[in-house]
């Protein structure tokens, strides 16, 4: 998937050379970052062989909380710290359903997606609200020494780099490749799965917060588009839906691929169907090549 990523990046740069200025890079990453965070969340769940439909719901809960509860009053900004925790709890609920309730991940998170979506809609029935001004301008800033979006991306990648060396990460891969074997070799499968869903909730909440900060408002309906996009990005990044193979870094590249496709079609003023067909066609081609490679290897 790396050649695809590089090719699209080159095309994007050739079409609009001024994209290489610092503010433009910052803006591109700013556009891509919510999807990147959701993709990372989806990625770690897919690595265990599960799936999380509810990322869209968790995302909007965090999004509207940031625009109302956090941004409603002066001096309430400290509440922002609690929003990711709420995401952690919502994700933990998914984990409980999957681990304790023995639900299929697809169904469990389909149900909680509706519930979380409803909660977000209850908090903020129509798009609006306001985020803390200072935080928003910090998040939107692309002209300072290091644009905030680049900083956040670097932090995300750095955390992933550290996390790769942890036991939890190793356990995720071992569960994804063979759950029974992982259990036999002493991996606490239940605890690991629970943690994965909880962390996915946390990451989805961060995506929601960031989206609220860069747009300055909240919207309880923006989450739905991220559910399948995050799965698409993971697949474009070479994550196997059966679990156990692929890396978060490549999933991030997959999220960028989707962003580049949108960018290129809008620069060339191509009709909207082009980007839809491109993304869908790429998806089929990539999964086809992947499945063939796996079969013949």
């Amino acid at each position: 998937m790396v050649p695809l990523f590089v090719a699209l990046l080159l095309v994007d740069v050739l079409l609009q050379p001024d994209i290489l200025t610092k503010p433009q890079i910052g803006l591109t990453i700013q556009t891509a970052l919510p999807l990147i965070l959701v993709t990372v969340a989806q990625c770690i769940v897919l690595l265990t062989g599960g799936i999380d439909i509810s990322v869209g719901g968790t995302m909007v809960v965090a999004n509207v909380l940031t625009a109302t509860w956090v941004g409603s009053a002066n001096g309430a900004t400290w509440r922002l710290v609690l929003v990711p925790l709420i995401g952690l709890i919502l994700g933990g609920l998914n984990g409980t359903l999957v681990v304790v309730g023995n639900f299929e991940p697809f169904i469990a998170t389909l149900g909680t997606w509706a519930i979380y979506d409803g909660i977000a809609l209850q908090i903020l029935p129509s798009a609006g609200g306001a985020t803390p001004a200072a935080l928003s301008s910090w998040a939107q800033n692309v002209t300072n020494l290091i644009p905030t979006s680049i900083l956040l991306l670097v932090v995300t990648v750095a955390i992933w780099g550290y996390w790769r060396s942890t036991n939890l990460c190793r356990h995720i891969y071992s569960i994804g490749s063979d759950e029974a074997r992982a259990r036999l070799s002493g991996v606490n499968v239940r605890r690991t799965k629970f943690s994965v869903y909880a962390i996915a909730g946390l990451l989805a909440a961060l995506a929601g917060i960031y989206l609220a900060l860069i747009t300055g408002t909240g919207d309880a309906t923006i989450g739905d588009g991220y559910i399948l996009s995050s799965v698409e990005a993971c697949v474009l990044g070479g994550i196997s839906l059966e679990g156990g193979s692929g890396g978060v870094g490549l999933a991030v590249a997959g999220a960028f691929i989707l962003t580049f496709i949108d960018g290129i079609t809008s620069v060339l003023v191509l009709p909207p169907w082009v980007s839809i067909v491109l993304a869908a066609g790429l998806l089929i081609v990539v999964i086809g090549i992947r499945s063939r490679l796996v079969k013949f290897s």
């Binding site: 469990a108 389909l110 149900g111 209850q122 799965v231 698409e232 999964i287 499945s291």
Partner: protein, 381 residues
């Protein structure tokens, strides 16, 4: 006065009929029966709250919406039982509606021919799903998502090239809003096709092969079943029912647009899951999906009656999906235990033939399970 009375008693007759079918199904499909019972309870609760809920016109409207969910989910039920997944359903619905209006405008031929052509095109799209899934051996979730994206792209392109003003054929509009006896046309089509799907699943070799493939593809292949062919066929059927749902939906709402099927993406899967069909494949029934579609529709109609806003509706909706799936699974397990079931995918020592013979009569999935078991143990011997 008489008509008022009639309006109040007719639904009771329908409910009684529904009750009888629940009793009959309960023995074989406990999960489906559970979902039907849940539907009835929700219906009773809504009627207790406001009598108008049980009026003929409301029941008709509800049954039409249930029919859309049920049709969208019908082919997908077969796909899921065979161990697949079809996420392209909402775009197939869009396609059914838009292709209908486009063909009606450009081709001046008999409406019935147009309908057949649209369903046929839907089957071709389903066949593309099936071909990609079986040839590429790729995860169906991704393949059908990609095909759905391609369909969406095509529809958006067609929509922008030929500007608006799509006309829905009068004939299909009249049909979609007419009734035969107490039942709307759409509901009738749905129920007839549901019976057909149930018969295919429980009374034909093809149906038994669907269960076998979903239960254990390897064992099915060893038993001489063309796994790919069976899976391919289920996707084609899903393409047909989803595009038919699109045609009828377009007739009913009298317009067609990209995105009109969006609600059926997860709605169909929720209905299937509520009916006791496991997403892992190998179990489930057409009746379960009918029941699940009824539950979801009555629920969606009930909640606004109770004065809940959209947000609360979504929350309850999600909670019911989870609770319903949980109980469907529990009921199914109890039913399996009552019949002395064994896990089909396990390779077990050959059972006495008399024992297996009785099992054949009870459950089609068991018949195939026995076939698979015999074959695998035969190889081991």
């Amino acid at each position: 006065m008489n008509t008022v009375l009639h309006e109040k008693t007719a639904p009771l007759a329908i409910a009684a009929g529904l009750g009888r079918s629940v009793m009959a199904a309960a023995r074989h499909q406990p999960a489906a029966a559970g979902a039907f019972a849940l539907t009835l309870m929700l219906f009773a609760a809504a009627t207790a709250h406001s009598l108008g809920f049980a009026s003929l016109s409301n029941v008709r409207t509800l049954s039409i919406f249930a029919a859309f969910v049920g049709l969208a989910a019908m082919g997908e039920t077969l796909v899921i039982i065979a161990g697949g997944l079809d996420l392209s359903v909402p775009w197939l619905i869009d396609f059914g509606g838009i292709a209908l209006s486009q063909m009606h405008r450009s081709l001046h031929i008999n409406l019935l021919l147009i309908l057949l052509a649209v369903v046929f095109c839907g089957m071709i799209l389903g066949a593309i799903n099936g071909l990609l899934v079986t040839f590429l051996r790729a995860p169906p979730l991704i393949v059908t998502l990609g095909v759905g994206g391609l369909i969406e792209g095509y529809l958006v392109a067609v929509g922008t090239l030929q500007s608006s003003g799509d006309v829905v054929p009068d004939g299909i509009e009249r049909f979609a809003n007419a009734n035969i006896g107490p039942l709307p046309d759409i509901t009738l089509i749905w129920l007839v096709l549901a019976v057909l799907a149930a018969c295919i699943l429980s009374r034909t070799g093809f149906g038994r092969r669907i269960y076998a493939v979903g239960d254990n593809a390897r064992a099915a292949r060893l038993a001489g079943i063309h796994v790919e062919r069976v899976r391919f066929a289920t996707y084609v059927i899903s393409g047909a029912t989803a595009s038919l749902a699109g045609i009828l939906l377009t007739g009913y709402i009298q317009t067609a647009y990209v995105g009109m099927g969006a609600d059926y993406l997860f709605g169909a899967i929720a209905a299937i899951a509520l009916g006791g069909t496991a997403l892992l494949g190998g179990t489930g029934s057409s009746w379960g999906t009918v029941a699940g579609a009824c539950t979801l529709t009555v629920l969606a109609g009930l909640l606004p009656v109770l004065g809940l806003n959209t947000a609360a509706v979504k929350i309850v909706y999600g909670a019911i999906i989870l609770a319903g799936v949980y109980f469907a699974r529990a009921l199914q397990q109890i039913g399996d235990r009552d019949r002395g079931s064994h896990t089909l995918c396990e390779i077990q020592p050959a059972q006495p033939d008399s024992d297996s013979e009785t099992a054949v009569g009870i459950d089609p999935s068991r018949a195939v399970g026995r076939l698979g078991t015999r074959q695998t143990t035969g190889l081991g011997r």
